[in-house]
C-alpha cells in the first residue's frame, strides 16, 4: 500500500531546485567570467593579474588577519561564557543564555551603529583606530555564532566524566585540559567555521566604521559595482578555494577524531 503524502525525495525537490537556480548556476556563471577576458576568450590573465597586484594580495592578507583575530577573539570570549552557561549550576541559566543570543534577533547594522556610538564616546574619533575598531565590531557581531556551537557541545559533555577525572586525581585546570577541551573540539571547529569565513567578507562593518582598507568582500563589491565581472569573479573563486581548503582541513581534524573513536574493531 502506498503511504499517503510525500516521499523523502519529493520533499527535497524544492530545495534541490533552489540550489540549482541560485547556487549551482550562478557558480558556473562566476567560473565562466573568471576564466574569460572581456572579449569572451578563455584566458588566465585575470588570475595572473590578481597575484601580481600588491593591492589585491594585500587585501587578501588583511582579510585573513582580520578573520584570524576575530575568530581567536570570539573563541577566547565565547569559551568561558559557553562553559558557564552549559555547566554552571545557578538559577536563570536560560535567561543568561538568552541574553547572549538575543542580539542575533536585532538587525546587525543597528547593533554596529550602537557599538559605534559607544566607541566614539570612548575613543573620541573613530578614525583614530580603524583596525582595532574593525576587530571589535567583528567580534561583537560574530560572538553568538561562536557561543552557540560551543554551548551545544559542552552541554552534551557528561558531568560524570568530570567527576571521574576529579576522582582520579585531576584538579580543576587538569580536568579542563585533559577532558573538557578535547571533548569540545567539534564545537570549537564548527564555531570557527561559522566565524572565520563570514568575517573575511563582511565589509559592511568596515564601511560603517569608516575603515577605508579593503577586505576581500569589499574588493569583490568594488569590482562588481564597476561592472568588472571578470576580476570580481576571480576574487570570488579564490575566496571559494580558501573556504574549501579550510573546510577540508577542519573536516580532517574532526574526521581524525572520529577515526580514533571508531578505532580498529578487532
Amino acid at each position: 500500500m502506498r503511504k499517503p503524502g510525500f516521499s523523502r525525495k519529493q520533499l527535497a525537490l524544492p530545495y534541490a531546485l533552489f540550489l540549482l537556480l541560485f547556487v549551482i548556476l550562478p557558480l558556473f556563471v562566476v567560473i565562466r567570467y573568471a576564466f574569460t577576458d572581456t572579449a569572451g576568450h578563455i584566458s588566465f590573465r585575470n588570475f595572473i593579474s590578481f597575484f601580481q597586484s600588491s593591492k589585491t594580495i594585500g587585501t587578501l592578507i588583511y582579510s585573513l588577519v582580520v578573520a584570524v583575530l576575530t575568530t581567536v577573539g570570539c573563541l577566547l570570549l565565547a569559551y568561558p561564557v559557553a562553559y558557564i552557561l552549559a555547566k554552571g549550576a545557578y538559577v536563570g541559566r536560560h535567561t543568561f543564555l538568552m541574553l547572549f543570543v538575543l542580539p542575533m534577533w536585532i538587525n546587525f547594522t543597528l547593533r554596529i551603529t550602537a557599538l559605534k556610538e559607544i566607541l566614539t564616546l570612548l575613543e573620541g574619533n573613530l578614525a583614530l583606530y580603524p583596525f582595532l575598531n574593525t576587530i571589535l565590531c567583528m567580534i561583537y557581531d560574530f560572538l553568538p555564532f561562536m557561543i552557540l556551537p560551543l554551548y551545544n557541545s559542552l552541554t552534551k559533555l557528561d558531568n560524570s566524566l568530570l567527576e571521574a577525572a576529579a576522582d582520579l586525581g585531576a584538579r580543576r585546570w587538569q580536568i579542563f585540559v585533559r577532558v573538557v577541551l578535547p571533548l569540545s573540539v567539534p564545537g570549537i571547529i564548527s564555531g570557527i567555521t561559522m566565524v572565520f569565513l563570514p568575517s573575511m567578507t563582511n565589509y559592511v562593518v568596515l564601511d560603517m566604521i569608516y575603515n577605508s582598507t579593503y577586505i576581500v568582500g569589499s574588493l569583490i563589491g568594488s569590482y562588481f559595482s564597476s561592472y568588472d565581472w571578470h576580476n570580481g569573479s576571480v576574487v570570488s573563486i579564490i575566496l571559494l578555494l580558501i573556504i574549501c581548503a579550510i573546510t577540508w582541513i577542519s573536516n580532517r581534524f574532526a574526521g581524525g577524531e572520529q577515526e580514533r573513536k571508531a578505532g580498529v574493531a578487532l
Binding site: 585531576a170 584538579r171 587538569q174 571508531a262
Partner: protein
C-alpha cells in the same frame, strides 16, 4: 570480621540536605573496618548513593564528619582523597583509548613511563583484558567497559574503592559473573570495597556487611545472614528476600499466635505483645491436610526453574511457599512451620505518635488540640482526666494502624499525603503515608493502593489515645 579490627572509615552524624529543604540523609553513623566489603542496600531514593558521593568528595555533608584513618576528610576535594570510584555508567573518557583511560590517574601522578606501563598491564590482567591497551572505548562491549572502569580505579591503589551500582547495566548472566569476580578481586587486593546496590540478591552474595537503608536512615547493619534471618523491622524483612508477614500476638513463653493458631517459636517477648511474624517462603512446609498445623487451599503454582511458587489461602491469610512439588490449584493442603523458621518482630510502639498543643476550651465541643497536620476538639477528660484544663499543654496522641482508613477522597480524612511505601502483611497491606509536613501515618488497609497515590487518612477520633507530655 576478625581481621585488624581497625576502623578505616567512620561516618559521624552525617546529614545531607538538598536545595535547602529536602533531607536525603539523616543522622547517618557507620564504622567501616579496613578490608571490609560493605554494601549499602536500599530502594532508589533512600540516600545510599548520596552517602557514597559524600565519601568520594562529590558532595559535602550538610552536617557531620567523615573520618578516614581518624582524619576528617568530609571537606576535601575528590582529588585529595585516597579513594577511587567505579561509576554507574562507567564514565570512561571517550576521547582516550583503553591505555590512556586506565593510565589517567597515573599520568596525573607523573609516574615514569615504565612503571606506568607495568601498572596498567597488571590492572588489565586483573580484569582479564590484557592486550586491550590500544583499543578505543567505543569498540568495547558493556561488560568490557565495566572492567576497564574497574581497572582505571584499582590501578591507583586506593585505600577505598567505591562502586556505585556498577553492575546494574549488565545483563543477568554477566552480572552474576562480575559479582563473583568482584568478590575475588576484593580478596586479592585487600582494599576496602564500598558497594551500592538496590539488588538484595547482589548484596547478599557479595558483602561482608550490609547496611540496609530506607528514606535516608539506616534500617539495619549486619552480615548477610543476620540481615536475612533476623530482620530488625518489617521494612528489612520485606525488602530482603521474599517474606510472609503475619500479624499476631505473643500468648506465652515462646508461643506466638497468628493465622488462627498458636505456634512455638524461638524468640521470646512478653505475653500480650503485638507482633509481626516473619516466615520465609522456603521455610514453609506443605504436607497432607491431616498432618498440617493449619490447613489451606492452593491458589496457584508457578514454575520458577528450581522450585514452584505456591500460593496457599489459609483462612484470610495468603501464604507464599517455595516448593519442589507442583500442587494442583483448588486442592487442600496442610501447612507446617518449624519454630526456628519463625522470626518475631515486636510491634513498634513508637509509630503513629503525634505531638499536639492544647488550645481553647469551647463549651459543648471540648478542648481544641492542634497537630502539625490537623486539629480537632477533644473531650478534656481524655487528656486531663479529672484535672484542670491547661491551655498550651503539650500532648502526644497515638493510634493503632488498624484503626484508621485510607480513602481517595481528599475530603474524607483528616490528613492527606502520598503513599511512600507498603508491605503485604498476611491478609492486608500496611501503608506508610507521608503528609506535606513530613509526618508519617501508618495504616493497615485491605485494598491495594499504589505507591505515590495521593490519599487521605481518616483517623477515628475515639480510637486516639492521649498522653500529657508537658506544658508550654
Amino acid at each position: 570480621m576478625e581481621n585488624s579490627g581497625v576502623n578505616l572509615i567512620q561516618f559521624e552524624h552525617i546529614k545531607k540536605v538538598f536545595d535547602g529543604d529536602t533531607v536525603v540523609v539523616e543522622d547517618f553513623n557507620l564504622d567501616v573496618k579496613k578490608g571490609e566489603f560493605v554494601t549499602f542496600l536500599g530502594p532508589s531514593g533512600c540516600g545510599k548513593t548520596t552517602i557514597l558521593r559524600m565519601l568520594g568528595g562529590f558532595e559535602i555533608p550538610t552536617a557531620g564528619k567523615i573520618l578516614l584513618n581518624g582524619e576528617d576528610i568530609s571537606k576535601l576535594p575528590p582529588y585529595e582523597r585516597p579513594i577511587n570510584t567505579v561509576f554507574q555508567k562507567y564514565a570512561l573518557f571517550p576521547h582516550l583509548n583503553v591505555y590512556d583511560n586506565v593510565a589517567f590517574g597515573l599520568k596525573l601522578k607523573k609516574l615514569d613511563k615504565k612503571t606506568m606501563d607495568e601498572k596498567v598491564k597488571r590492572a588489565l590482567e586483573m580484569v582479564d583484558l590484557e592486550g586491550f591497551e590500544k583499543r578505543s572505548i567505543q569498540t568495547l562491549s558493556g561488560g568490557q567497559q565495566q572492567r576497564i572502569a574497574i581497572a582505571r580505579a584499582i590501578v591507583n591503589e586506593p585505600e577505598v574503592l567505591l562502586l556505585d551500582e556498577p553492575l546494574s547495566a549488565l545483563d543477568y548472566k554477566m552480572r552474576k559473573e562480575m559479582q563473583l569476580e568482584l568478590k575475588n578481586m576484593h580478596k586479592k587486593l585487600g582494599i576496602t570495597f564500598i558497594f551500592v546496590t538496590h539488588d538484595q540478591e547482589e548484596a547478599l552474595t557479595m558483602s561482608d556487611k550490609i547496611v540496609v537503608m530506607a528514606d535516608g536512615e539506616i534500617q539495619q547493619i549486619g552480615t548477610p545472614e543476620e540481615i536475612y534471618n533476623e530482620p530488625k523491622n518489617l521494612f528489612v524483612a520485606d525488602f530482603i528476600g521474599e517474606s510472609n508477614i503475619f500479624k499476631g500476638e505473643m500468648v506465652g513463653h515462646r508461643k506466638a499466635s497468628f493465622c488462627g493458631r498458636t505456634f512455638d517459636c524461638v524468640d521470646d517477648y512478653e505475653s500480650g505483645t503485638v507482633i509481626d511474624a516473619v516466615v520465609r517462603p522456603e521455610d514453609v512446609e506443605l504436607v497432607s491436610e491431616e498432618a498440617g498445623m493449619i490447613t489451606g487451599e492452593i491458589l496457584s503454582s508457578d514454575f520458577k526453574g528450581t522450585f514452584y511458587i505456591v500460593a496457599v489461602l489459609s483462612g484470610r491469610n495468603e501464604i507464599e511457599v517455595h516448593s519442589l512439588k507442583y500442587y494442583e490449584p483448588g486442592s487442600r493442603v496442610g501447612i507446617n512451620i518449624a519454630p526456628d523458621s519463625i522470626h518475631i518482630i515486636p510491634y513498634d510502639e513508637s509509630i503513629n505518635h503525634y505531638e499536639g498543643v492544647v488550645g481553647e476550651y469551647v463549651e459543648g465541643q471540648g478542648v481544641k488540640v492542634v497537630f502539625a497536620d490537623f486539629e480537632w476538639f477533644v473531650n478534656p477528660k481524655e487528656i486531663f482526666g479529672d484535672g484542670e484544663i491547661i491551655e498550651g499543654a503539650k500532648v502526644e496522641a497515638s493510634f493503632k494502624p488498624d484503626c484508621a482508613e485510607i480513602s481517595d477522597d481528599a475530603e474524607a480524612g483528616v490528613v492527606t499525603g502520598n503513599i511512600i511505601s507498603f508491605i503485604y502483611v498476611g491478609d492486608h497491606y500496611r501503608y506508610t503515608i507521608r503528609s506535606k509536613t513530613e509526618e508519617d501515618y501508618i495504616v493497615d488497609d485491605e485494598d491495594l493502593w499504589n505507591q505515590d497515590d495521593y490519599v487521605s487518612v481518616n483517623i477515628p477520633k475515639d480510637k486516639m489515645s492521649y498522653r500529657l507530655v508537658g506544658e508550654q
